[in-house]
Amino acid sequence: MNNADIDLDATDRMLLQRMSTGDRAALAVLYRSYHGRLCRFLSRLTRRSDVIEEVINDCFWIAWQKAGNFHGDSRVSTWLMGIAYRCGLKALRQHGDEPVEDDKLPEQRTAAHDLDDDRELRDWLAKGLEHLSVDQRAVIELVYGVGHSLDEVAVIMQCPVGTIKARLFHARVKLRNVLPALAGDSPKHKEKVP
C-alpha cells in the first residue's frame, strides 16, 4: 500500500466515522467515491443494471448500519468490496445472474463510445469470462481489474488464501485455453499448465 492508498484509506475511515454519527453527507461522499469501482466489480457478476444498483445500495445500507463497528482490521475499500461481494452473491441467488427481460437489459455503451479496438477487446473479455464461474470472475476482476493482493481478496471473499490461489489458477488456465481462440488464434497451451 503506497502513500496515496494510505491517504485515501484515512479519508475513507474519517467518512465512516462521520457516518457512524448519522452524517448523511459523509455517506454521499463515500457512495460517489466507490460507485464506479463497485459498478465495475459487480458488472463481472451480473449484466443487469437494476441488480447492480440494488446491490450497491444494499452494500451502503449495511455500511451505514455497521460504520460504527468498523475496527480497521482491513482497508475500508476491502471491507466495502467484501460487503458488495456478499450482497452480489445474495442478489444472484434471488435474481439469477443473467437478464430475464429484454427491457431490463443494460444500456449498451459500446456502439456510441467505444473505438473498434476497444469493442473487440470488450467482446473478447466478455466471451472469455463466460467460461468462468462467478467466484473465478470475481477473483480475476479483483486481481487484474482492481489490483488487490491475494490476502486482500481472501478477506473480501472470506476464504483462505490457498482457496483464492486455486480460484485464480483455474481461472487463468481456462482463459489461457479459450482466449486465444476467441482472438482468432488456436490455443497453443491447451490443458498444459506450467
Binding site: 444498483e53 463510445h113 472469455g128 486481481v143 482466449l179
Partner: protein
C-alpha cells in the same frame, strides 16, 4: 526472491506465478527484472504475458453498463428516510402502548383503593373492640344483674319478674346472667333484697355499682 534458471519448466512456473503481480506493479524490482529476462528467451511465457496484459487492458475499459450514481444515492437516502420513519412509528406505537398500560394500572389502583375504602367505611362504626377509656354502653337506671338457677322453671321466672315489676333488658350472657330493669318506682335495694330471698336466684346485684 530468485528463481532457478537451470530448468526451463521451473522458470516458467515462477514466471506464471508472478505475472499478475508484475502487471499490478506490486512485485519487487528483482521479480520484475527476472520476469523480463525470462520472457526475452521464453516464447510461451511471452505469449502468456501478452495475453495477461491484454486481459488487464480489457478489464480496465469503462464499464459498459449504465448505472446512475445520483439516482441510486437518492433511492438509498429515501430508503434511510423510510427506515427512520418506521423506527419512529415503532417508537410511537411502543410509547402509546406504555401510556395505555400506565393508565390501566392507575385505574386498577384507584378501583382497589375505592373498594378497600368502602369496606373500611362499612365496618368503621362498630369496631370489634373497646378501649378502657371508653364508656360502657348505657345501662337502664336501677338495672340489676340476675343469675337464676338452672332448675328454675320458666313459670317461676316469669312470676318473679311480674311480682317485682321487672323486665329483662339483656341476656342471658355467657354465664347465664340476665339484666333486668324495674318498670315501676320500687327502690333497687328493696328489689335486690327480695330477689336474694327468692329460692332459685343464685345471684342478684346492681349493675351500676359493678366495679
Amino acid at each position: 526472491m530468485t528463481f532457478p534458471k537451470n530448468s526451463s519448466g521451473r522458470d516458467c512456473t515462477g514466471a506464471w506465478d508472478i505475472m499478475p503481480w508484475v502487471l499490478q506493479n506490486s512485485a519487487t524490482q528483482e521479480q520484475g527484472d527476472w520476469l523480463k529476462d525470462h520472457l526475452s528467451h521464453c516464447e510461451a511465457c511471452s505469449t502468456e504475458f501478452a495475453q495477461q496484459s491484454r486481459l488487464q487492458r480489457a478489464l480496465a475499459l469503462p464499464v459498459d453498463i449504465s448505472v446512475d450514481a445520483n439516482a441510486g444515492l437518492k433511492r438509498l437516502l429515501g430508503r434511510l428516510d423510510t427506515a427512520d420513519t418506521q423506527e419512529g412509528s415503532f417508537r410511537t406505537r411502543r410509547g402509546n402502548w406504555l401510556n395505555r398500560a400506565l393508565v390501566a394500572a392507575v385505574l386498577l389502583q384507584a378501583v382497589g383503593i375505592g373498594t378497600l375504602g368502602m369496606k373500611l367505611w362499612s365496618t368503621g362504626d362498630s369496631p370489634a373492640y373497646r378501649t378502657l377509656s371508653q364508656e360502657s354502653a348505657s345501662v337502664a337506671p336501677g338495672a340489676i344483674r340476675i343469675v337464676p338457677d338452672a332448675a328454675m322453671t320458666l313459670a317461676s321466672w316469669n312470676a318473679l319478674l311480674h311480682n317485682l315489676r321487672l323486665q329483662v333488658v339483656a341476656g342471658p350472657n355467657d354465664v347465664g346472667a340476665y339484666t333486668v330493669a324495674p318498670t315501676g318506682s320500687a327502690s333497687t335495694a328493696h328489689t335486690l333484697q327480695q330477689l336474694r330471698a327468692t329460692q332459685g336466684i343464685r345471684l342478684a346485684e346492681p349493675v351500676a355499682v359493678t366495679p
